[in-house]
């Protein structure tokens, strides 16, 4: 090997390299933060419904068997997927069908009532009464623990 060639190859090894380790550390830290902090949503939360505040509310831990009905401030109702429930029959059919599916899976059916805090109670009461007729007597009022 000639001395010129040797010098050239020596120059290659002295190339400045980017130290990736702090970036990898940061990525891992961020990843761990998100993995630890993220929790799966129990039900889809419609942002148009502002739930009331209840300081003694219990953590939602069981997703199974929940039949979600959103009650809006204007008294309209929608399902978890955003389908409007226009008549009492629509509500009855929704609850009945969901209850039958839950029974097949051996889940206890629960009405998950996401009522807007500024709605009047008669709308929620209507949903509760129809659900009771359809055989669902367990009601879960969706609330926030604090205002903020």
């Amino acid at each position: 090997m000639s001395s010129k060639l040797r010098e050239a190859s020596a120059g290659d090894s002295d190339e400045c390299a980017l130290d990736m380790s702090p970036m990898i550390d940061m990525v891992f830290l961020l990843l761990i933060f998100f993995v630890v902090n993220s929790s799966q949503a129990i039900v889809k939360q419609d942002s148009d419904v502002k739930p009331p505040i209840a300081s003694y509310g219990k953590k939602q831990d069981d997703k199974n068997g929940r039949i979600v009905v959103n009650v809006y401030q204007d008294g309209s109702f929608k399902t978890e997927r955003g389908l409007p429930l226009e008549t009492d029959d629509d509500i009855f059919e929704l609850v009945k069908k969901a209850k039958e599916e839950n029974d097949l899976r051996s889940y206890k059916s629960k009405l998950h009532l996401r009522g807007d805090k500024n709605a009047v109670f008669k709308h929620s009461r209507k949903i509760i009464a129809i659900s009771a007729k359809a055989g669902v007597d367990q009601v879960m009022f969706a609330t926030y623990v604090t205002e903020k």
Partner: protein, 154 residues
Amino acid sequence: MARHRKYQEAEEGNPALDISSLIDVCFLLLIYFLVATTIQKKEVDVPLALPASAPTDSEMPDIDPLFIKVDANGAIYVGAGASQEMLDTDTSIRSLPLLSQRLNDYSVGANSGGKKALVQMWVDGGANQQRVIDVLNALVGAGISSVTFTDLVD
């Protein structure tokens, strides 16, 4: 020089872990979480078990239920008939101190007699949802789980 060249060759032949794919996976996961995460307040449950049907003789409660009335303005009353008493009227206060005190007294009295506290609620259709939840919240706080609505049918 020959020796030095031999050493260099051995160094180059050392097995090295290629972590680039690991970094790729980490970035992908990180981007997934960044995109999928929405900062949303956690919702909690205020449970309520409705009476499935009228109680039979054997299921009749052995304690007089406490009647709670919530009127359209959000005022809260306890008791029925002539003994009805107006308690919390300020709808801006979530804690309902007077009702909570009454519920605690009732609950302690029922428990000391080995009975289960029972509450019957009547809510005006025009009452605010938040106000009803305030009452249910106070019931949960007092450890009362047997609650019935007397007015589910208009």
